[in-house]
């Protein structure tokens, strides 16, 4: 092992790493996806499978990733391929190592585009560029049209005809992300998270107080009041053919949706937590830190997202129009919620705060997606940060260009989101729990997790990690394959843009797999020299 590998960066404070991990997890899903899922799948009844999934899936997998990361970091590795090779040096590990680098960078390719929408909308509110006119009946149509033209839904290459603010926003987001990553782990990501996370929570609390004090904003519509708005989100309600709350809880779809939401909100299966935790000192705490980052994410999701988004939209749109968009993250965030600002005093300010908050949530996540690949290039090839950034910048910019150019119906974005941002994440998390529970061994894994920790993992989590988590993940994966795979596979076969996107993903994966093999050979040679 090279001496240089042992002298990497470290986090400067425990709170810093917790906020960085929480910042990575808190994203648009907390404020848009979660409220939509909850309102769609049983309202308050959704929270029962949601919290059970948190306890038996989310928290254990978080601890697995924190522990594996710190374990690999002790051996001088800061990226998943290196960490996996410490626990299980094999071709299978190399394959999943490449996958753990692929997932965050492909998600970054399209996520930065969505981040740019938030930045662009925040800027538009700040400068007063959003003006839907005086007729409230046209507000929803105005925001739908504005959004579609802003992101170029009409045709491929629409954003390359003339001046496109969304393109400028993408360039600004790229520059911000790469400046932060260039500044390094402690001075860049950690410092930014320590500032951005409190700012995000403050903005959300201001909006929350405003929403909860609106009373009955339109006296002509007394049923659209705050209490009913909270009821729309939190009252247990039947779905489909269910007749009561117990029928909702007996519906497997509700459990899968709840588990999926927990899984995606905590950013497990991304490869990011492993990379972040590897920069801890060998005896730094992982159990309390992991739980605290999870709690911070849940606070943003349940206490802020759950009390702001749906109630705010309900107050001004009413139940029927809201029901029509509640299942769509984009529909809720960019079509429905902006309508509410048109009715509010200081609506322009609240619009700016809302999209500024979404932008902060997005950038704290996107910047974390770059770190695993940077760490891999440093680990595997002793590359300098500047060189690693150049390689990563080229790969991610190519993918983002693909997403931005093929903007018609956001096909390229949706393809990347399904195959990488949904399916592969579950596959990677499954590999991680098997690695922890079966290869490292659950007893050894728990001993490793508890070493130096301020909180001990209760023993019953051993069987949960060994048996329950893999079974739960296999069920989620099976449901995805059963429900969505045929449609998505057909889309790839029938739509050339989808085929081009999948080919691009496969090309990047092959490239990363090759790099992982080269890096592994180098690590083997180094181990030989040490012996």
């Amino acid at each position: 092992m090279s001496a240089a590998r042992q002298a990497r960066e470290h986090w400067s404070t425990k709170l810093g790493v917790i906020l960085a991990v929480a910042g990575s997890a808190v994203g648009l899903g907390n404020f848009l996806r979660f409220p939509g899922r909850a309102a769609l799948y049983g309202g308050g009844a959704f929270m029962i499978p949601y919290f059970i999934s948190l306890l038996i899936l989310g928290i254990p997998i978080c601890w697995v990733e924190w522990t594996l990361g710190r374990h690999g970091g002790r051996h001088g590795f800061n990226s998943a391929p290196g960490v996996f090779s410490v626990v299980w040096p094999s071709a299978v590990s190399r394959c999943f190592g490449a996958m753990a680098v692929l997932i965050p960078i492909v998600i970054y390719m399209y996520y930065v585009f969505i981040e740019a929408w938030c930045l662009g909308y925040a800027w538009s509110y700040l400068t007063g560029a959003i003006a839907p006119g005086a007729d409230p009946a046209s507000y929803q149509a105005y925001f739908a049209d504005r959004f579609n033209s802003y992101i170029g839904v009409a045709e491929d290459g629409a954003l390359f005809h003339g001046f496109a603010p969304a393109l400028v926003a993408v360039v600004v987001c790229y520059m911000l992300n790469f400046i932060l990553i260039y500044r390094g782990l402690s001075k860049g990501i950690e410092t930014f998270s320590k500032w951005a996370m409190p700012a995000l929570v403050t903005a959300a609390l201001v909006i929350l107080v405003r929403v909860l004090t609106l009373g009955t904003p339109n006296p002509a519509l007394p049923e659209q009041n705050v209490i009913n708005a909270l009821g729309f989100m939190w009252n247990p309600k039947p779905i489909g053919e269910s007749t009561n709350i117990w029928a909702v809880l007996a519906n497997p779809q509700v459990w899968l949706e709840a588990a999926g939401q927990i899984f995606f909100t905590l950013s497990v299966g991304f490869g990011i937590i492993i990379s972040y935790a590897s920069y801890l000192k060998p005896d730094d705490d992982v159990v309390l830190s992991g739980l605290t980052a999870t709690a911070a994410n849940e606070f943003c999701e349940v206490c802020l997202g759950g009390l702001i988004t749906i109630p705010a939209a309900f107050l001004f749109l009413g139940a029927a129009p809201l029901t029509a968009v509640v299942g769509s993250t984009i529909g809720l965030g960019f079509h429905a919620v902006p309508v509410t600002f048109e009715y509010l005093p200081f609506g322009q300010l609240f619009g700016f705060l809302w999209f500024g908050l979404l932008f902060l949530a997005a950038i704290t996540s996107s910047v974390s997606m770059l770190q695993p690949a940077i760490a891999f290039l440093e680990d595997g090839f002793d590359m300098g940060r500047r060189s690693a950034m150049a390689v990563l910048g080229f790969i991610t910019a190519t993918g983002t260009l693909l997403v931005v150019y093929f903007s018609k119906d956001t096909v390229a974005l949706d393809v990347m989101d399904f195959w990488v941002g949904t399916a592969l994440m579950v596959v990677l998390a499954l590999f991680e729990v098997i690695l922890f529970g079966w290869v490292l061994g659950v007893d050894e894994g728990l001993r490793e997790a508890n070493r130096g920790s301020d909180l001990q993992i209760p023993g019953f989590f051993g069987p949960i990690i060994r048996y329950v988590c893999p079974a739960y993940l296999i069920a989620i994966l099976g449901a995805f394959v059963y429900q969505s795979f045929p449609t998505q596979a057909r889309a790839v076969a029938e739509r050339p843009v989808a085929l081009v996107t999948v080919t691009f993903i496969l090309f990047v994966f092959t490239f990363l797999w090759l790099l992982t093999h080269l890096a592994a050979r180098r690590w083997e040679r180094e181990r030989g020299r040490v012996r």
């Binding site: 404070t13 309202g43 308050g44 739980l291 002793d382 590359m383």
Partner: protein, 50 residues
């Protein structure tokens, strides 16, 4: 809003707020000044190796 709605909302928010307070209190207590603070960054970016 129904009674069940109130119960589910307050218990969900209460659980998450309670968990957050518990965790952050433990973290801030365990991060006494000087403790868990690492030495000045020992960053080796290998820039000179390029």
């Amino acid at each position: 809003m129904t009674l069940a709605g109130w119960l589910l909302m307050t218990s969900s928010v209460g659980f998450v707020v309670g968990l957050s307070i518990f965790c952050f209190t433990r973290v801030l207590r365990s991060s006494a000044p000087g403790e868990h603070l690492h030495a000045p960054l020992d960053i080796d970016t290998h820039e000179k190796d390029d």
